[in-house]
């Protein structure tokens, strides 16, 4: 099955940006030529007309909860991977807070096997830092890496014990695995259910202060300096965290960081009439924080845009606000929300693409790029396609998004994984 992608603008940050035709066969990019210069002796089975479109390395989402095994009523590996390719993602990094927790080879292998069977996006599991993510004993990092894990995290729960975090960073260094840290001081979060501030005060809801995140960011940066381990800060939401990471990078600390589209798009003001679709952890913050997140993305402090895709059923969301589960789905809204940063002049197109392709790939050590001979994971997008997002029409099994009914601009029209079209936008 040979595919010819013609007439598109091919952007692979740091490598190329221009009009090229791509010829794909056997999962690889066979040829990358100037438009019209057809390679000899090649019979093409499918021609994709990408005129006016952007042809990008497949988008990578390094922070996704696929809920499988254990919570398949919220999402399965199959539905999550379908949602991914619908949103333009060709690879996702699956968080380990499944049931059982992904702290062992069997679960890691299961995730990869199920993703291969489904045949949509690639799944790269992140395994647990500690057994059961309980913060008491280290899991078997070597065995997990051997099984296919690309990172370690107890995401959803912070590593509260400083000594364990130190040892995790050191021990992971031996296997060249990054530690992804969910930064939260639970005693300062104090059972809060939204950002501490004016809106929480008016609604009478217990608040979570910025410091509950940033103080742990600072601790982990200190431990990263001490150990020389590889630290990646998950879902940054506050101005103080951005500042701490910026300062650390200036000192040469090998820390990387991500934020999610909701943190640069929304603020706590989205919690209208106790809407649980605006409830997540860390919580939506203030306009000042949102602006700082944008600044952090612009100046490179924040390396990655990741969704923290967190599917929940109405059982967890259609309840009293303080009892509702944290998190929103993100795979199918991240691309247009990130493109808006380009429209708004926060990021260049090149920088946005980096944060959704080569930056997460380099942190996780996974393949990316558009090169002759390289893997054919490709996303073709129309950055100007406008549509109204309808939660009911999404591929994810869950519907928990605050963006239902929003006018979105930018859509993946074709998603190719391993040289196969795994998503095609209906015309």
């Amino acid at each position: 099955m040979a595919i010819h992608i013609k007439g598109g603008r091919v952007i692979d940050p740091g490598h190329c940006d221009g009009m090229f035709d791509l010829y794909i066969e056997n999962g690889k990019i066979l040829k990358m030529v100037t438009p019209g210069a057809a390679p000899k002796d090649m019979s093409v089975d499918q021609v994709i007309d990408a005129t006016g479109m952007l042809v990008l390395p497949g988008l990578i989402d390094m922070h996704v909860h696929l809920r499988d095994p254990g919570f398949e009523y919220k999402e399965s590996i199959e539905t999550g991977c379908r949602a991914a390719v619908h949103g333009g993602f060709t690879a996702v990094c699956a968080m380990p807070n499944t049931r059982p927790v992904n702290d062992n080879r069997q679960v890691t292998e299961y995730m990869i096997r199920m993703a291969n069977q489904a045949g949509f996006a690639r799944v790269y599991p992140a395994a647990a830092i500690s057994v059961g993510s309980k913060g008491q004993a280290l899991s078997e990092y070597g065995d997990l890496k051997d099984a296919g894990a690309v990172a370690l995290t107890d995401d959803g729960l912070p590593v509260e014990n400083g000594q364990m975090m130190r040892r995790a960073l050191e021990y992971a260094k031996g296997f060249n695995l990054p530690i992804i840290s969910h930064c939260e001081d639970m005693s300062l979060a104090a059972g809060g259910c939204m950002n501490e501030g004016v809106v929480a005060t008016r609604l009478g809801l217990p608040g979570i202060p910025n410091i509950s995140e940033s103080i742990m960011v600072m601790r982990d940066i200190g431990l990263c300096e001490l150990t020389g381990g590889r630290l990646h800060i998950a879902h940054v939401s506050t101005e103080e965290s951005v500042q701490a990471i910026r300062d650390a990078k200036k000192r040469g600390v090998p820390v990387t960081a991500e934020t999610a589209p909701h943190y640069f798009t929304l603020t706590e003001a989205a919690i209208v009439d106790f809407d649980t679709h605006a409830k997540m952890n860390p919580p939506l913050r203030t306009e000042k924080d949102r602006a700082a997140i944008c600044q952090g993305l612009a100046d490179g402090t924040l390396d990655v845009i990741a969704t923290d895709h967190a599917p929940h059923s109405p059982l967890e969301k259609n309840v009293e606000f303080n009892m509702a589960a944290n998190g929103i789905i993100g795979l199918e809204t991240a691309l247009p929300l990130s493109l808006k940063l380009v429209t708004d002049g926060v990021l260049t197109l090149d920088a946005m693409i980096r944060k959704m392709t080569i930056n997460p790939a380099s942190i996780l050590g996974i393949p990316t790029g558009i090169r002759e001979g390289g893997i054919a994971d490709i996303t073709i997008i129309d950055p100007d396609r406008e549509y109204i997002l309808k939660a009911d029409e999404l591929y994810s099994k869950s519907r928990n998004t605050p963006f239902d009914g929003w006018t979105m601009r930018g859509k993946a029209l074709y998603t190719l994984v391993n040289g196969r079209v795994v998503y095609k936008e209906p015309s």
Binding site: V198, V199, T201, L203, G204, L205, L315, E320
Partner: protein, 312 residues
């Protein structure tokens, strides 16, 4: 004039005219409770459900009496007797209650916003009887009624609200209500009990209780919950009482004929001294009496047929 509202969830969503209508109606209701036969047929055939998911004595009894004096059929459900202990969700409970066609559901719940959730799923009127730390609109309305009765127009009057502002739905609803009626609200309490962004209520904040009550027309004391000690919000009851308790000496710093209010239940000797609680300036029991009239007024305005006009 009619009250064109389905629900009473908070004070924010009431206009000054609506508040005045409710208070005027409540004043008219007071007399019913003073008759030898304390019952009028106004709401005969109407069904009111008291859904109390959090313990309450005073508020529940007040709503219950108010319903009965208007001849409504009033049914009580508490947390322990509801299916929610069997794992039923609030929305399912709402749908089941709705299926029995009640006219009004009064709801108290430990989660802020729970009555909003209920109101979105039922056609019946929902009255918030206190939700989490969010709002307690009927308490604020009866407090406004009690203050207005004594002082007339509340414009320019100074009300000091003292205590754990952060955890108090009464403080929130009263701050909004008294501000709306033109009064000047001053909060006082230890800094640990003053929430972030409290200035958006248009209220002043001082950690010095004496400063708060100097020149006050009304002093409203809030109940201090002793379990807050565990969250490091204050040191000891002894020290709290010394710095934030209302003594006779402190009462003398306020305006002559100051009104002393407390939403109850009181901790005598902690936030309020015995002498002040039972003293000449205290209108604490009048608040309770007015509570019945105020709740009768709300039932009447929501279910008394006045809303039929705009539902057709």
């Amino acid at each position: 004039m009619q009250l064109r509202k389905k629900d009473i969830l908070d004070i924010e969503s009431l206009t000054v005219d609506e508040i005045n209508l409710i208070l005027d109606t409540a004043e008219g209701m007071k007399e019913i409770s003073e008759r030898p036969i304390k019952k009028v047929p106004t709401l005969r055939g109407k069904t009111i459900i008291l859904f109390f998911h959090e313990p309450s004595t005073r508020t529940k009894v007040s709503f219950d009496i108010a319903a009965k004096r208007l001849s409504a059929d009033c049914i009580s459900i508490s947390a322990s007797s509801s299916s929610m202990v069997k794992g039923e969700t609030l929305i399912d409970t709402a749908r089941n209650l709705e299926a029995m066609n009640p006219d009004i559901i009064v709801m108290r719940h430990s989660s802020g916003g729970a009555p909003n959730l209920m109101a979105r799923h039922v056609k019946a009127s929902v009255i918030n009887g206190g939700d989490g730390m969010h709002a307690h609109p009927t308490q604020a309305l009866l407090d406004l009624m009690s203050a207005r009765e004594k002082l007339g127009d509340l414009g320019g009057k100074r009300i000091a609200i003292i205590g754990d502002i952060a955890h108090s739905r009464v403080a929130r609803s009263n701050a909004v209500g008294f501000s709306k009626m033109g009064a000047h609200v001053v909060f006082s309490g230890p800094p640990t009990m003053i929430p972030k962004g409290v200035e958006t209520y248009g209220a002043d904040v001082t950690y010095d209780m004496d400063e708060a009550i100097r020149g006050a027309d009304i002093i409203m004391m809030l109940r201090i919950q002793k379990e807050r000690q565990e969250n490091f919000l204050f040191s000891t009851v002894r020290e709290y009482s010394r710095y934030y308790g209302l003594s006779e000496k402190r009462v003398n710093m306020a305006k002559k004929d100051v009104l002393i209010m407390h939403p109850g239940p009181m901790n005598r000797g902690v936030e309020i001294s015995e002498a002040v609680a039972d003293g000449p300036y205290s209108i604490i029991l009048e608040q309770v009496t007015n509570g019945v009239a105020l709740r009768m007024a709300l039932f009447y305005l929501l279910a008394g047929g006045s809303r039929d006009g705009d539902t057709h």
